[in-house]
Amino acid sequence: MSDFRASQNKAHPNKTSTIMTGIILLLILFVSMQIWFLFGALNNALEENLYFALTTFIGSLLLALASFWLLRYLPDPIRTVWKK
């Protein structure tokens, strides 16, 4: 017997793939923004611009939290046995 989830997965085999791609793209976006922040902070730290370093740190932290939170939505690993 198959339950609703199994039927869904069978009927839309590309769905998890799309979700995964979306999540990965978002993560890449977040990480790129963080790299950009870090680059700016490093450059500005040389000029002793504490305010800039602090702002980018908070931004980076929020992005990291968003990344962790996104990981919750990763599709589960595919299970071989659908039958009960």
Partner: protein, 172 residues
């Protein structure tokens, strides 16, 4: 040899017992988790910059530092010297004109190449990427450097040259 026996599982299959679909799925999950981890690391390093700026602010140079005797550097020439602090910082001392001295950090503000004074141009050159600084103020005249050269104040006492922290960091 093994192919002839249909009962036996081929080596490659026992080495990689996961179906292709599952393999790509899993490695993409791993990749996404790795990106999450990377994101955390980047946030931490950004935090490290803040901590460094808060806890270990760079100390201004204290007191006067002897560099050389006035007659050691003719007009239009420069010498290099170093100041020992928590870090060794290389500087250049330029004898611009009679009674005109300048001291700048020797590291280019672009990618830290050694800058030098060009007498014929009366400017400071960074040969690495053709950056030019004013020998008078340290300001960027041309090229990629994003900031002026950090400057020290030059004091002369009894024929000897000393440097000290300038009142403003980039005094002109």
């Amino acid at each position: 040899m093994e192919q002839k026996n249909p009962e036996k599982i081929p080596n490659w299959k026992s080495d990689f017992p996961i179906s292709t679909e599952k393999a790509t799925h899993i490695s993409r999950r791993e990749f996404a988790k790795f990106l999450g981890l990377l994101s955390g690391v980047l946030a931490l390093s950004n935090g490290a910059i803040v901590i460094k700026a808060l806890a270990f602010p760079s100390k201004p140079l204290e007191g006067d530092h002897f560099v050389c005797n006035e007659d050691e550097v003719p007009v239009g020439k420069m010498i290099q010297f170093e100041i020992q602090g928590d870090m060794v910082i290389p500087y250049i001392l330029i004898h611009l004109q009679e009674n005109e001295w300048r001291a700048f950090e020797q590291k280019c503000t672009h990618l830290a190449c050694a800058v030098r004074y060009r007498e014929e141009e009366q400017k400071i050159e960074c040969p690495c990427h053709n950056g030019w600084f004013s020998a008078d103020t340290g300001e960027v005249l041309q090229g990629p450097p994003p900031r002026p050269l950090p400057q020290l104040e030059v004091v002369r006492k009894e024929g000897k040259v000393y440097v000290r922290q300038a009142e403003e960091p980039y005094a002109t």
